[in-house]
């Protein structure tokens, strides 16, 4: 019953969204992958660019994840770097533990599941108290969460020997590890020696899976309920939507996708440290910038924005010191183009003119 009302309610929205069909998004990602892969195979692509591909894709994945939270659910999260961090560390520790025990492919598959499961769990736990509240509390709590996770992992010493796992929050000596023991997380030095399992193809597959989950959610009964909560909470509640449950669902999926990006992060670079450059709140905000500039609620936009904005400062390397300056100017320019009222009017006028021109031509013909 509820869903029927929602379907009717969102019919108009659907017609508008119809221009961006899910299949087109998959096709876009696959086409982009095919072109880039062709460049790699033919040796046209520089090794600098090749090194950028995996990070580019995992930032696109986490942007898709955050878009579910910000765009579909309408709640602001400033802690997605924290979920990435959990996914990264969880999977890296798992990979170290099972290195040599499991065959490579299977090990990465399990590491991936462990990383995603851990970030899902934390997303769920955080959601329980916070998503019951209305207002901007999620932003505040997730911001704090991201920082706590980062600082905790910076202080955590974890090692393993024949007596099992040892953990300490003070220093390496306090672990009392036997001489042939192995350090898993060494405080600020983080995890070293994670196998280099992630590659461009695997990353793109993960991106496609993330998009599949996100798009199916949006176009399902659950997605319509979530969007109804975003648009008008009271109206949604009045037709019997369980607000907390749907909020939890969206937020947990969002955290899980961020965790998946974290797994790729840790398996792409062998040294993993919970530094501010990797998982600080600036990174959370950077991911949010990808989402906003790509268009809130627009999944394909997130992928494009994340890819372009990640590559931009790297491709501007030739400009040396000025590149970060130019990067920030580009950000401001895109923001004005996307969101300033004057720019929106100008774009609409332009679009109207083009449409009118087309019609005119059709009539003439």
């Amino acid at each position: 019953m509820t869903d029927k009302i929602l379907k009717a309610m969102t019919l108009k929205g659907k017609a508008a969204a119809g221009r961006k069909s899910p299949a087109a998004t998959y096709a876009f990602v696959i086409a982009a992958y095919a072109v880039l892969e062709l460049f790699i195979r033919t040796g046209v692509m520089s090794s600098h660019l090749q090194g950028l591909l995996v990070p580019m894709v995992y930032y696109a994945i986490v942007a898709v994840g955050l878009n579910i939270c910000v765009g579909i659910l309408g709640e602001l999260s400033l802690g997605h770097a924290g979920f990435m961090c959990i996914g990264a560390f969880g999977s890296a520790v798992f990979s170290l533990l099972t290195d040599g025990v499991l065959p490579d492919g299977l090990r990465f598959l399990f590491a991936f599941l462990v990383g995603v499961a851990l970030s899902t769990l934390f997303g769920f736990l955080i959601g329980i108290p916070v998503l019951r509240l209305n207002g901007d509390y999620l932003a505040i709590v997730t911001l704090a969460f991201g920082e706590i996770i980062k600082n905790l992992l910076n202080a955590l010493y974890l090692g393993i020997d024949e007596n099992g796992l040892h953990a300490s929050l003070s220093n390496q000596m306090a672990l009392g590890l036997s001489p042939d023991g192995k350090m898993l997380i060494n405080g600020a030095m983080g995890v070293t020696g994670t196998p280099h399992d992630a590659n461009f193809t695997i990353s793109v597959v993960v991106l496609l899976i993330a998009l599949f989950f996100a798009q199916n959610l949006v176009h399902s009964k659950h997605g319509r309920a979530i969007m109804a909560i975003r648009d008008n909470r009271i109206a949604a509640e009045s037709i019997g939507i369980n607000i907390v449950r749907y909020k939890m669902q969206a937020f947990t999926i969002s955290a899980a996708i961020a965790g998946a990006a974290g797994v790729l992060f840790s398996h792409n670079i062998s040294t993993l440290q919970a530094t501010s450059q990797n998982f600080g709140y600036n990174v959370s905000i950077m991911i949010l910038v990808y989402v906003v500039l790509g268009g809130i609620g627009n999944l394909r936009g997130s992928v494009i924005a994340a890819s372009v904005l990640y590559l931009l400062p790297e491709l501007l390397r030739g400009l040396n010191k000025y590149r970060m300056l130019i990067y920030s100017i580009v950000l401001i320019a895109v923001m004005i183009f996307n969101w300033a009222p004057a720019a929106i009017t100008w774009r609409e006028n332009l679009a109207a003119k083009i449409r009118a021109g087309r019609h005119g031509r059709k009539e003439n013909a």
Binding site: H48, Q277, L288, V289, Y322, S328
Partner: protein, 407 residues
């Protein structure tokens, strides 16, 4: 809709903040030295290109922008300076040398990107990265490519865990142990306070070894207080604990930016212990808006003092000051020595630029263990096959706004 616009405004404000920060990062380092660096690089390139077809291509990586820019610029400038001198004196094994530098912003991933960029340029040997964590990240890739890597200042133990990687500086354990030994030997203090950065590989590495060695030498550690990268502006609590414990020496195994704040805040509190640091403090005299009189009497364990009166140091300091402005620090000296170590090894093994990257690396691995260098940072430096250098630590004290040997 109201919510969406609120989100947008929040994001825009934060994005502005981020971009402003990014802007600050690059503008604050747009100093005379960096412009000088790029022009010098350009002239070095044209000279060598004109001289002959085959050249050695050596890359250097370091943080050229941001908080640790003093290190990266020192490493890159000194590598270029050494290349110019080598070229003027007939090159390495008769071939000219080209040096290209890349920025890594003190970020592991960016450092790997910088490495890949240099590889595209045709780099055959790598001097860098400047800092520990970046150096470890890049060494995974140099190992795969079998490229010879010598890090001037990557001091963490893991930096040289592969046999293609060598270093010029001391390792962190060596620095921590040597500091404790030096303090005990010269009876600088009996009660010691430590302030360190628990989120930093370099700082926590030294601290661990310092504490172990200090206890073995009978020194009392009255306070051991940490801060993290996110919380490094107010040190009053850490200083107060050291003061309450009666520490007459405060050990600062940290980088110079935070140390300058600690010195200012200790001065405000009226707390005047001896401050003792490691090579990370090198550069404290060049911090913007820092009253260098506060650094009077600060001791640091570093293998290089710009005031040393041997010819090598004097010529190096004069040439560096002429080309880049400012007194070179230990990082510059390490990088300069790295270039000359490469030169010696190249000549020892008779390496030519037309060899493949992997062949050069194999030849360098053996040659590095056979050479002896009288460099800026130590005389009679030799290398072990593990990549560790054998050299003597020296202590330096700041007097009248300059680094002076403490002997």
């Amino acid at each position: 809709m109201k919510k969406t616009s609120r989100i947008i405004s929040a994001v825009m404000v934060s994005a502005m903040a981020v971009s402003m920060l990014a802007g600050c990062g690059s503008s604050s380092t747009g100093s005379a030295s960096s412009t000088a660096a790029s022009t010098a690089a350009a002239s070095a390139d044209t000279e060598s290109a004109a001289a002959s077809g085959a050249t050695f291509k050596i890359g250097a990586i370091g943080p050229l922008t941001g908080g640790a820019a003093a290190y990266g610029n020192a490493v890159c400038n000194a590598a270029e300076l050494a290349a110019k001198e080598i070229n003027a004196n007939g090159g390495m094994n008769g071939y000219q040398v080209e040096v290209k530098t890349e920025d890594d912003e003190l970020d592991n991933q960016k450092s790997v990107n910088a490495y890949n960029t240099l590889k595209d340029w045709g780099m055959q040997m790598l001097v860098g990265p400047t800092t520990s964590a970046c150096s470890i990240a890049v060494s995974e890739y140099t190992k795969d490519d079998n490229m010879f890597q010598i890090t001037p200042s990557g001091s963490a133990v893991d930096c040289v865990k592969y046999d293609n990687v060598f270093r010029v500086c001391f390792s962190d354990p060596a620095q921590g142990t040597a500091s404790a030994d030096y303090i005990a030997e010269h009876q600088l203090a009996s009660k010691i306070g430590i302030i360190y950065d628990s989120s930093d590989v370099y700082s926590s590495g030294i601290t661990q070894n310092f504490v172990t060695e200090a206890q073995a030498k009978g020194l009392t550690i009255v306070s051991q207080e940490a801060f993290t990268a996110d919380n490094k502006t107010d040190f009053s609590v850490q200083l107060q604990k050291a003061k309450d414990g009666g520490a007459d020496l405060v050990f600062l195994p940290i980088y110079y930016t935070e140390a300058s704040l600690i010195l200012q805040q200790a001065n405000t509190m009226g707390y005047k212990p001896t401050f003792f640091g490691c090579d990370g403090l090198d550069g404290i005299l060049s911090v913007d808006n820092f009253d260098t009189s506060l650094a009077e009497g600060v001791m640091l364990l570093t293998p290089f003092a710009a005031d040393a009166d041997d010819d090598l140091t004097r010529n190096f300091v004069a040439a560096y000051e002429k080309d880049y402005g400012g007194t070179p620090n230990q990082f510059a000296a390490d990088s300069y020595d790295a270039m000359y170590a490469i030169k010696a090894a190249v000549e020892k093994a008779n390496i030519t630029p037309d060899m493949s990257v992997s062949d050069i690396c194999e030849a360098m691995k053996t040659a590095m263990t056979q050479i002896t260098i009288d460099g800026l940072t130590s005389s009679g430096m030799t290398w072990q096959a593990s990549g560790e250098p054998n050299k003597e630590p020296k202590a330096v004290i700041i007097k009248n706004g300059a680094y002076v040997s403490a002997e």
